[in-house]
Structure formats: C-alpha cells, structure tokens
C-alpha cells in the first residue's frame, strides 16, 4: 500500500504529558530529539522545521518554529509556525507535507509543545470586547465544559445515553493508557469513581472532562522517494490530512460561538464534525470500514461517542452500543484511543494532533507494546480546534 503522493513518517517522539518544571522550549526540544533519534536523522539534515504555536507561553510560543530551531541550534533551516488551537498539530503536519509534496524540501521536522495552567482554559488577558472568546466568558460564563455538556445532554435526550455510558468511556481509556509511558494518568478508573466525582457542567462529572497538561510531540517526515533511497519503504505513511473548515450554514454551536447559522441538525452526516473525517477518507480513498485504529479528541467522554458517529464507525445514536459491545476497546474490531486519549493525557492543545499521529505511527509499526492493536494497517485521527478548525490524519502501512 504505497503511493508517490504519500509522505513518510520517519520518526515520532514525545515529551511525556504531565505537569513539569521545564521550559516550553525544553519540552519541544525533548520531543524533537526523540523523533529525530527514532528517524535516524541528524538535526542539521532537517531542511524545514514547522512549529505548532502556543498562545500561553509568550513570544516563544508565537514563533514556535524559530524557538525550537534556535534551541536545537541554528542551521539555516527554513521555518514555519502555525496556530489552529487544538487542531494546530494537523496544520503543522500539513504545512510540512505540502512542502515535501511540492518538492520544496524532503526532510521536515514538525514539533509542538505547550505548558497549560491547571483549571478552566481561559481567554487571553485584557479587555477585548471584539473577541468572541472573551465575550462568551464575559456574557454567558460559557467555559469549554459548557459546550462539552451541551452535546452530552443532547445524546441523553435524543439517544437515551446515560451518565454510566459516558463513564464507561473513561474506564476504557484509563485501561488503555495504563502502560503508555507518555501518558500522565496511568491508573484504572471505575465507572463508579467517575459517577462519584463532582458534577462540573451537568451532566458531566469532573472525571468525564480532560485535564490540562504540559507536553510536546514531534514527527519527522520525508518524501516517498527519499524513503526509497534510504531503503525505508516499509515505514508508516501519511495518506491524507484534513484541515477543512465549516460550510455555511454551520449547524453546530462550538467554542467560542454564541449561535449556529441555521437550524441545528442532530449528530448527522451534514455536520461540520462529520465533514472533517469525510474529507480525510475521500483524500485517502478509503472508508470507515477500512480503519483498524482511531485516535479521537475525547475532550469529554461524551465527545468520544460523538466521534464514533462522525467517523462513520456507526450510525447516529449507536455509539453507546458500539462501546458496550467492546468494538472500540483494545481487542475489539476498531479500538479507539489505544493511547488512553485525553482521558489519560490531559490536553496540551497545539501538540495534541501530533501526539495522535505519533500513537498511530507506533500502532502501525506494531511497537505499541501492551496497548498494541493487533494487525493495524490503517489509522485515523480526529480532532477539532475552536474557531472552526477541522483536523484528521489518515496513516497507512
């Protein structure tokens, strides 16, 4: 399964997620060096470095590409930096991929890091009444879990989902992440423990909602031609990257929106989230039936269930059954979040979409150890960044 339009993942690496007394640049350098070592590529041989920006670490975060290039030592490499909130990593990968496919370079390093304060994510400081992200906090007090909870409640009222169903997602992901050395939380969590944790935004409990973390992730990408010259033809390949935005009228209310643009549909094929994966499938020339493993953005447990449907793993309203039947658990037909997901990592927003690709790379190589999905050949990630950023990557081997 190879194509000249693929880019090849030569290496993947992370700094473990957690709360660390290390600088923003340090975290990124750790992930970058780990990915370079995994790739067998020396930093001076990298022609392009793409940094996924952080908005929480001052200027070094805004100029992420330069920050990491400087920290690794100036080599004259081309630099790009980009930001798309939680979807930043997919944009960074796409930037590197586009350079490679256009023939502008053939070895690129993609890296993103974040250090995130504990508690609710908050808008940037200052009085900014023109910023929807500022206004939603000011006028409604709508935190991120507000939006998570609106969709969770919708599943309950439409599909009969229960709090125990949501908690079962956490229990599954906690088991998946137990042996992941990059995960922050490596401890079993029972359904009862989730239900006993305080309600943050009805119906979601504290343990339904992902924490905020520090972490960093990186991949080294190269062209199919160069991989062939290096005799690395069997490596994992990126076959599609979806960075789509919504289409008018957007029927989904999402951070930081106050309103939809038309009557809101239900979890359905017409939604923005469903279009994210659909674009990835189309570009890759595959369908949901081909997927052997998925990494999805479980900001909340209920969102993971939404993603099953947006990815086409089941019809709307059937996600709870899919979970109960064990289809998405390790050992099932299509394990979801074998890494443990955000439930075990917490969120380091710009690095997250790269971390998803790292996990899928290890899964397709067959080197994921105790969390290995047997015989995985096609992986898909799904994620969404606020202000209308889609993010989905298809990798194959």
């Amino acid at each position: 399964m190879t194509s000249r339009d693929d880019v090849v993942v030569l290496g993947a690496g992370m700094h473990p997620w957690g709360k660390w007394d290390r600088s923003y640049a340090d975290l990124g350098v750790h992930a970058a060096r780990s990915a370079l070592a995994d790739a067998g590529v020396d930093w001076p041989d990298v022609q392009l470095i793409v940094g996924g920006e952080s908005v929480r670490n001052g200027y070094p975060g805004y100029v992420a590409g330069a920050t990491f290039a400087h920290a690794l030592g100036w080599t004259g490499a081309r630099i790009a930096s980009c930001y798309a909130a939680c979807a930043t990593g997919a944009q960074a990968i796409q930037t590197a991929r586009a350079h490679i496919l256009a023939g502008l370079c053939d070895v690129a390093l993609v890296v993103a890091a974040d250090r995130v304060p504990k508690g609710f994510l908050a808008p940037n400081a200052g009085d900014r009444p023109d910023d929807p992200d500022w206004l939603r906090f000011r006028l409604v007090g709508a935190s991120n879990p507000t939006y998570f909870a609106l969709y969770a409640r919708r599943r309950m009222d439409l599909f009969g989902a229960t709090s125990a169903d949501f908690a079962a997602v956490k229990a599954k992901n906690a088991r998946h992440g137990l042996h992941n050395p990059n995960a922050r939380y490596r401890k079993e969590v029972s359904v009862d423990e989730v239900l006993a944790s305080p309600v943050v935004a009805d119906p979601l409990h504290l343990l339904d909602i992902c924490a905020t973390s520090d972490g960093a992730a990186a991949v080294v990408l190269t062209s199919a031609d160069r991989a062939q010259r290096l005799d690395r033809r069997a490596e994992v390949r990126v076959r599609a990257v979806s960075t789509v935005s919504p289409t008018f009228p957007n029927t989904e209310i999402d951070m930081p929106d106050f309103a939809t643009e038309a009557a809101s549909g239900d979890v359905s094929a017409g939604s923005f989230r469903a279009s994210i994966a659909r674009a990835a499938y189309e570009e890759a020339g595959i369908g949901p039936e081909d997927v052997s493993v998925a990494e999805v953005y479980d900001l909340s447990t209920a969102y993971e269930l939404d993603w099953y449907e947006h990815l086409g793993l089941c019809a709307p309203g059937e996600a709870e059954r899919l979970l109960r039947d064990g289809v998405t658990t390790l050992g099932g037909a299509c394990p979801v979040n074998p890494s443990g997901g955000l439930a075990c990592f917490g969120e380091a927003p710009p690095a997250q979409a790269i971390a998803q690709v790292c996990e899928l790379t290890w899964q397709l190589r067959g080197t994921a150890g105790a969390r290995q999905v047997e015989g995985a050949t096609v992986g898909i990630s799904a994620n969404q960044g606020l202000f209308g950023h889609g993010s989905s990557v298809v990798v194959v081997r």
Partner: protein, 142 residues
C-alpha cells in the same frame, strides 16, 4: 444608578425584549451576534446588513450549568452561585443561541424541546450600576 446592556446592540430591553441580529438586506439571511462585516452566506456576500430583531422565543436545543465559577472575564458575585445555560432554537429562523438561564431557573426545570422565552436580567452589578444581559426563562403561557 443606571442599568445598561453588558454588550451594545445584541438585544432590546423594552417590555417585550428581543434578540437583535444582522439581517442581510440582499438575501434575508440572519445571524447572531450582530456586527458581521458581510452576509454570512458566501454565495451572497452583501455588506448591506441591517440590525433587526431576530426572535424572542423558541425551544431548548440543549442545556447545562456552571457548577464552578467560570474564569475572568466572567464576573461573579460573592459567594458564587451556580447558574444554568441553554442553547435555544429561536423562532422563526431556528438558529440556536446560547444564553444563561434566568435567575432561579435550574437545569432540572427544563428538558430538550421545552419552550422558553427571552428575558433581560442583571448580569453583574457594582457601584456604577447594573449590566444587563439576555437570558432564557420558561415561557409564560398565554
């Protein structure tokens, strides 16, 4: 003491308050909040937008609450009192608009599909006066 909207031009404050939005004079598409540069429909793109009432009642699309105090710039009175939040499909256009639930209305008082209407209440008060905001309350029959 004066009372003023916490945000200018997003809702009216008369006896029967309404949401205000952008209505495209070319194609009729409405959007909320108002203040767009051009019509939301890319196939239209007109910049002739009129600020107009866009509705005052509808049905609950979904709802939740805020059990813990949201971070700044939200301003809360001490001690913090949790409040409800609803996303409401507003008639006649059906766009879903977020807002707090009216004071004293909890998430347990409503379900998806229930009818609600817009009320204007005090969001925050200090020595300079009250700041007003739109909120959702169960519709009063009749």
């Amino acid at each position: 003491m004066t009372a003023r909207p916490a945000v200018e031009g997003w809702f009216s404050t008369g006896a029967v308050p309404e949401l205000l939005g952008d209505r495209c004079a070319a194609c009729g598409v409405v959007s909320f909040p108002p203040g767009r540069s051009a019509c939301a429909d890319p196939a239209c793109g007109s910049d002739r937008l009129v600020r107009d009432p866009i509705g005052r009642a509808g049905t609950v699309w979904s709802l939740t609450d805020a059990r813990y105090q949201p971070p700044a710039p939200y301003r809360a009175a001490e001690p913090y009192e949790p409040f409800g939040i609803a996303a409401v499909a507003v008639e006649p256009h059906g766009i879903v608009v977020l807002g707090q639930l009216a004071h004293g209305v909890s998430v347990a008082d409503l379900a998806v599909g229930d009818r609600v209407e817009l009320v204007v209440e005090t969001l925050f008060a200090d020595e300079s006066g009250d700041e007003l905001v739109w909120r959702w309350a169960p519709e009063v029959a009749g």
